[in-house]
């Protein structure tokens, strides 16, 4: 090797010979410059650092505080009916503010029925859209189409409600409901009288509203399936649909179930659009074309006029039930989605 090597350097006056041989240069304190003295005067800012850290921690903990706050307020202010009716509150079907008799069953029923209708309509469509966008769509269209589905999620509930009252309900009443009464009337689910508003209308607008959530999460879990799975199935001679069914959907099914449950969670809590088209009647009917009410819609419609404490307490208790149910459903859904995407942050809010 031909290295140009540093020559041994000339001795300096800060050098000191060590007893055991060798030379060492003594560490002399460095002369201070104005910059150095300024910086040394700044200190170690450990107090500012820990104060800052505590502040940030407090704000992060505020998220727990918010949940705790909601829970406490709901429980505290529903004490009256909690004490008066106990668990019977949720099986009683009489909603009689005049006589202070409250039973939440009609609203539970309404919530469940509208959610079922919404899921039945939304899930196949959402999965279909997801399949199209991830596996079939030409790349040029993908950005625009996925933007459009995202836009669906951005429309406020009240605007959906407005459109539902003046466009969707007349449409249902004129074309769709008569058709359903003719074809499915024998099930008892679609019978006259039909005013357009009711559980079915609420279910349809709900379906449109939960579609974006289910669709975008399904797309996420489908994209998380590794390409090797797709290629392996194709190598066996599968058609594209078979590849999608066996290579992708099958692997992603846990996540897809999770996204469906998330959509359900959203449907359970949707308030405004539902309140505007469900007819606000605290009754239980077999026909989906009958007016009804959901847990969220009755609170929206009646809370402002709730005149006495018992009435308000009943409504707040319904709110408490809604709170607990949506939390459980959400936790379940998030766990399922998380299991498939392994903790990648779910971008849907």
């Amino acid at each position: 090797m031909n290295l140009r090597i540093q020559e041994p350097r000339a001795p300096r006056n800060t050098d000191v010979a060590l007893p055991a041989g060798g030379i060492v240069s003594v560490a002399v304190p460095a002369p201070t410059s104005p910059i150095r003295s300024y910086l040394q005067s700044r200190g170690n800012s450990s107090m500012a650092d820990s104060t800052f850290r505590w502040l940030m921690l407090l704000c992060a903990l505020s998220i727990f505080a918010i949940v705790a706050l909601i829970a406490t307020e709901l429980v505290t202010h529903s004490q009256i009916t909690l004490a008066k009716f106990g668990w019977k509150f949720f099986v009683g079907s009489a909603w009689d503010p005049v006589n202070n008799n409250f039973g939440a069953l009609p609203f539970i029923y309404g919530t469940i029925m509208t959610s079922i209708v919404a899921l039945v309509i939304a899930v196949p469509l959402a999965v279909g859209v997801a399949v199209f966008l991830t596996e079939m769509c030409p790349k040029a269209l993908r950005g625009g189409l996925s933007f459009l589905t995202e836009l669906l999620a951005a429309i406020p509930s009240v605007v959906y409600g407005l459109w539902a009252i003046f466009v969707l309900v007349p449409l249902l009443r004129t074309y769709i409901n008569p058709f359903l009464i003719d074809v499915l009337g024998w099930t008892g689910l679609f019978v006259r009288p039909d005013f357009g508003i009711g559980m079915f209308a609420a279910g349809v607008i709900l379906a449109i509203m939960i579609l974006p959530i289910i669709s975008s999460l399904t797309r996420e879990v489908m994209s998380a399936v590794p390409h090797t799975q797709r290629e392996a199935v194709l190598a066996l001679g599968a058609t594209r649909w078979e590849m999608i069914r066996m290579g992708v959907l099958r692997n992603a099914r846990i996540g897809i179930v999770g996204s469906i449950i998330l959509g359900l969670g959203r449907a359970l809590g949707e308030t405004m659009a539902v309140a505007m088209v469900i007819g606000s009647s605290p009754t239980i009917s077999k026909s989906l074309l009958a007016p009804a009410a959901t847990m969220a819609s009755v609170i929206a419609n009646e809370f402002a006029e709730a005149s006495d404490d018992t009435y308000r307490s009943a409504l707040i208790e319904i709110g408490l039930a809604l709170f607990l149910v949506t939390i459980v459903v959400n936790i379940l859904a998030r766990l399922l989605v998380w299991a498939v995407t392994r903790g990648a942050p779910a971008r849907v809010s």
């Binding site: 921690l57 704000c59 078979e242 609170i299 998030r334």
Partner: protein
């Protein structure tokens, strides 16, 4: 990844697929038909989904634009039967409420995001906070409204803009926290090291270097949360409550655009219905603007130069 579940079942998947494919080799025609049907169903689903969106926008423009005039933006609601009313107080009211909500939600949310990214990375606490934030995002907004009613309106013995602002602000916090965290995580570690290596105090480095680098993304996250609460009605029903007159006092009820739309939509008067459509158009325009901006910034790359 679906990897683990996939890998375990890969053997049986392969043999199952092989068996079903071999058996269907006899029905090659049917498989071909099924494949095309699937494609058309998927396309059909997409069209069916896009249709209501297009319909809503068309209706909004068609029915709403006619009522958008100078009066709309400057006048108060007038008694039924009279012409020339507007939703000016609702627009201003929404502005006040959103201002309050942002003043509360943005700083706390960003701070929480800073904690999750800079101090709590990988800790159990941050996993819990993140999870709770996601769950909180799924709580119905009307429940938030009731909680704030119980917390603020009941003791104050009256509806107020303040209560409405708090209700909306609480809703912003989890969203802002999550997006801030995501954006901060994208700042390369080398930038933080450079700041620390200079002897810059931790807190200063986080604010002036790390947060500043991620700022475009953080701001778009805030805009996302803003757009979301701008359209919320339920939490305002018994907090801000609504007000037919000019009011910006924080301790008085205040009007908001989505609230007004709700009331007008349910009313029996055509004139009010038209105003509801116009108000919805304004609301949607604002939200679409915010969402498009978010999309533009995030797909172009939110971090300027930091790779």
């Amino acid at each position: 990844m679906g990897g683990d579940a996939g890998r375990a079942g890969e053997g049986e998947l392969m043999s199952g697929a092989a068996v079903s494919l071999r058996a269907s080799a006899l029905n090659r025609r049917w498989r071909w038909v099924a494949n095309h049907m699937a494609t058309w169903l998927a396309v059909g689903a997409t069209l069916l989904v896009i249709a209501p969106l297009v319909a809503i926008f068309v209706d909004l423009v068609y029915k709403g634009a006619v009522s958008l005039n100078w009066n709309f933006f400057t006048k108060l609601p007038v008694p039924v039967g009279e012409k020339g009313g507007g939703m000016a107080n609702a627009i201003v009211g929404s502005g006040v409420l959103l201002g309050l909500a942002s003043a509360m939600g943005v700083p706390i949310g960003i701070a929480a995001g800073i904690y999750l990214s800079e101090y709590g990375r990988g800790t159990k606490l941050s996993i819990l906070v993140r999870f709770t934030a996601d769950v909180l995002n799924g709580v119905p907004s009307i429940v938030m409204g009731i909680a704030v009613y119980a917390l603020i309106v009941a003791p104050m013995k009256g509806f107020s803009a303040f209560a409405g602002g708090v209700a909306l602000g609480i809703m912003m916090i989890p969203t802002v926290a999550r997006t801030t965290e995501e954006m901060l995580l994208m700042v390369p570690h080398s930038i933080r090291e450079a700041a620390l290596g200079l002897g810059v105090p931790n807190w200063r480095s986080m604010l002036s270097i790390t947060l500043k680098t991620a700022l475009p993304g953080v701001i778009t996250g805030c805009m996302l949360a803003f757009a979301r609460v701008a359209g919320e009605t339920a939490p305002l029903l018994f907090t801000a409550f609504g007000n037919n007159f000019w009011s910006t006092a924080l301790n008085q009820p205040i009007e908001a655009l989505p609230l007004q739309i709700y009331v007008y939509a349910l009313s029996p008067y055509d004139e009010w219905h038209r105003l509801a459509w116009a108000g919805s158009l304004v609301l949607i325009a604002l939200i679409v603007l915010a969402v498009s901006l978010v999309r533009y910034v995030t797909t172009r790359g939110a971090l300027k130069g930091a790779r």
